[in-house]
Structures are given as C-alpha cells and as structure tokens.
Amino acid sequence: MELLLQTILNGLLMSGVYALVATGLALSLGVVGIVNFAHGEFLMVGAFLSYLLFAFRGTDPLLSLGLAFLAAFGVGALTYQGLIRPALKAPELNQMLLTFGLSILLQNLALLLFGADTRVVAPPYQATTLSLGPFFLGAVPLGAFLLSLAILLGLQVFLTRSRLGLAMRAVSQNRLAPGLLGIEAERVYLLAFGLAAALAGVAGVMLSVMLYASPTVGFIFTLKSFAIVALAGLGNLKGVVPAAFVLALAEALVSTYLPGGGGLVEAVFFLVLFLALVVRAWRLA
C-alpha cells in the first residue's frame, strides 16, 4: 500500500512539468493553429541554457528560470516571424514538415555544439529529500511541481483577465472577428507562440536538474506532449493538467510494478496516445 501511494506521489510530482510543456504545445496548436514538432526543442534550449549558466557562471537554476523564459520567448518569437508566419496559409502537411525540419535542425545543431552526452545540473540541493511520514519527496521534483502549478495558475489568470489573454482565446475561436474589432491577429499569434516556447523553456530548466540536458531531451517531450494533448482533446487547455497527471501516473506505475519497468517507461506515452485516439474514435462513431 505504501509503495502504491509513493508511486502515485511520484507520478503526481512529475505531472506538473508535463502539464507545463503540454500547455505550451496546446497553446501553439489552439491559438496559432500550428502543429509544432519543434516544441520540445524550445525545452532543450532552456535545459542547455541552464546547464551552461551553471557550468560556467555557477548560476543557480532557480535564477536561470527567468532567463530561460525570456530566451525561449525570443527564440519562439523569431521562429514565428521567420518560419511560421510565412507558412500560416500553407497546407497543414507543409507546416508539419516545416516544424519537423526545424526540430531536426535544432537537435543536430545542439549535437554539433555540445556533443551527445547528457549533462546534469547539480546544485547543492539536488539530492535533498523531504520525508512525509513513510513517504519520500525529492526537494527538486516537489519544487518543480509547485512552480509549474503556480505558472499554470498565472497563465489561467492571464487568459481570463487580461485583454491580451482574452485576445489569445478569441483568435482561437474565430479567425475573422478579431481583425474587425481592431485586434491585429498576427501580433497575437506572435505573442502566443513566444509564450508557448517560454513555457517549454522554463520546463527545460527544471528538467536540467531533474533529468538532464541533451540534444534529444526535447523530442521525447514533444511526443509526450502530443499524447497529453490528444488525451485532453485538441484545443482544450483545461484538460491538459488532468491528462498530464494520467500520463505521469501511468509512467510511475509501469516503472514501479513492471519487471524491468525502467526501460518500458519511455514507451508508456505511445500506449496512452494510442488509447486516447482509439477511445476518441469510438465516441465519435
């Protein structure tokens, strides 16, 4: 029983970061209408930024969070201006190939610059654990979970209270009306895409401590995010958090209970994606 609860706890703590990354993907999909296979590479940018700052300047990853937010926002905004905007009216397949190509380009650029090694950011508190009765909580996963929740809560307030947030939801619901109301939709797309990248960038910093930074770390998260978004339902931002919990929990259960589960964890999202799509197809039929 204790093992089960500990497993559920582990899943819960992981779900925050998953939700953060997947919310970014859902934003670019829902608001800008683009299937962004390079979303995880924004995460990688954040992870490497955190690693470089830590390795060369000794910067605490907590301080890198803000920098990664801005840097990833910048990279996202540039990507939108240079690549996405010209392709906005192109067929979906072209857009997907474009972002897929960008993903491969960025991964290999990172490989060239940093090599294939995994790099871990190890601040003094990295291995600290807190014990809660019979359970153990890693300080870093707990911090990442709470921070992710706080960011998502902030995002929720932004999307429901601020004018810019309202405009982001508006362009996702109707493409024609915002222009007639004096809202430049393209500017909203730019900010939404930048924000989506920034969320991934922040998650990248967290993962540089919890996991590692490597050229391919982002791509796994792109795939996991797609599984989460498919489970939540396309364009359903609120569904992302519970969907992220489902995936993280499934991974934790597999890792604890299946013999040799550690190796199978990275396949769980395929199962989740598969089941989400099949169940969805059933409901539609």
């Binding site: 004018r163 619901q173 915002p178 222009g179 109301l181």
Partner: protein
C-alpha cells in the same frame, strides 16, 4: 466625417463581384443597402473593411484612401463591422465578447462602452456571465452589434442583422440600430428585409449584379414601381 466608396471593383479569385460602385455614408445617418441574394452586398462590406483587397477604385475615410490599412487598423480608426453570421466567440461569456470589442481602447472607455451597450440591450446585461454560444439567435445578434459598438465606431457596417430572427425580434434589432444612429453613428445597413429597412433608413441604395441600380430617400424608393414589384411584391 464621411465614408466614401468610389468606383469600387472587387471579387474572389477570377470572379468579379463588384463592378464600379459609388456610395457614401455620413455620421448620424442610417443608410440601407438593399438587394437580392448574390447581388454583392456582403462583398462590398468586406471590401470596405479591408477583408478583401479592391481591384480598382477606392474606399475613402475623411477623404483619405484606406488601401494600405489592415482591417484592424480601419477598426481602430472608427470603422465598425458587424459581419455576416455574427462571428461571436462562442466559448466566451457575453462580457468577455464585449470586452474584446473594446480591446484597443483605454479602460475608462471600456466602462462607458458597457453602460452604452447594456442600456441599448438590457437583455445582454442579464446574460453577461452566459457563454455566447448558448444565447438565442436574437441575443447573439444583439451581442454582435453591441461588441462592435464597444469600439465606439463613427461608421458602422451591419450585415443582415434580421437574418433568421422572428419578425418581432427583427423589428426590435432594427429599432436599436436606428437608436445608434441617433447617437451620432453613421450606419450602412445591409438587409434583405426591404420593407422594414426602408421604414427605419433615411435613404437607401439598391444593388443588382454588383452595381448600384437605384438610390434615393426611402420615401421616394417606397413609391418606386420597380421596388414595389421586385421587393415588396405589391
């Protein structure tokens, strides 16, 4: 303050829809644009607000050519457009829809806008927390008009507000549009309901196959034998 259209030609792809139109609307007047389905009324509104580029001719705002202005920039100048099919944000509340209509204004103006719209359509005030997609057809039309009014337009284009509404509701909506012009807004009203529009509008244009074929004060048009035969079936 006036909106002028001069020799406007426009279309989609290779299909020309508008063949040299001239028209003007001044602040504070209610002008009806009448015509059968497919005459090009909606296309004309889309060209005026910049959703499609003109092939030839001009749209002038206070005498200035709007050619290079995006639809959003035209809206910020004071050109409102209540589009065909209302184009609301269905998953947002009435209040959020209205706020988006004032997205480019200072916050004080937003409060003023809410007051104006809720006075004009008290029913929207009752439903302010309801999702726009769950409103009745008439309420949705009121919301579409109210949302455009939140930006304090000087000239407002309204596309078929009575479409799909029960006769009594259609009258109600047209009466509130008339009230808007009395507050000093110029309105170009596209309608298929000719009898009702000529009742509220001061003057009207009649369009056929992308051209203006008839224009004048509503009282004169109501007497015109062609109008009586073709549109009023008298």
């Amino acid at each position: 303050m006036r909106l002028e259209v001069k020799g406007l030609e426009a279309g989609y792809g290779k299909a020309q829809v508008l063949f040299g139109l001239d028209l003007e609307v001044k602040e504070g007047e209610l002008v009806a644009l009448l015509g059968a389905n497919g005459a090009g009324k909606t296309t004309l509104l889309r060209a005026i607000s910049g959703l499609i580029p003109p092939w030839r001719g001009k749209v002038l705002w206070k005498g200035e050519d709007l050619r290079r202005f995006s639809p959003a920039r035209r809206a910020r100048l004071g050109l409102g457009h209540v589009p065909e099919g209302r184009q609301l944000f269905p998953l947002m509340t009435v209040e959020e829809n209205l706020r988006l209509g004032a997205a480019f204004l200072a916050p004080e103006r937003e409060r003023e806008g809410f007051e104006r719209v809720y006075t004009l359509f008290p029913r929207l005030a009752e439903r302010r927390r309801q999702l726009a997609g769950t409103l009745s057809g008439g309420e949705q039309q009121m919301l579409a008009i109210g949302r455009a009014l939140m930006g304090f337009p000087r000239i407002l284009l309204v596309d078929e507000p009575s479409l799909g509404l029960a006769p009594r509701l259609a009258e109600e909506v047209l009466a509130s549009i008339k009230q808007v012009t009395e507050e000093g807004v110029g309105v170009l009203l596209v309608e298929q309901n000719v009898a009702l529009s000529l009742e509220v509008a001061a003057r009207a244009y009649v369009m056929e196959h992308g051209r203006i074929v008839l224009q004048g004060p509503s009282s004169t048009l109501l007497e015109d034998s062609r109008i009586r035969e073709a549109y009023l079936s008298l």
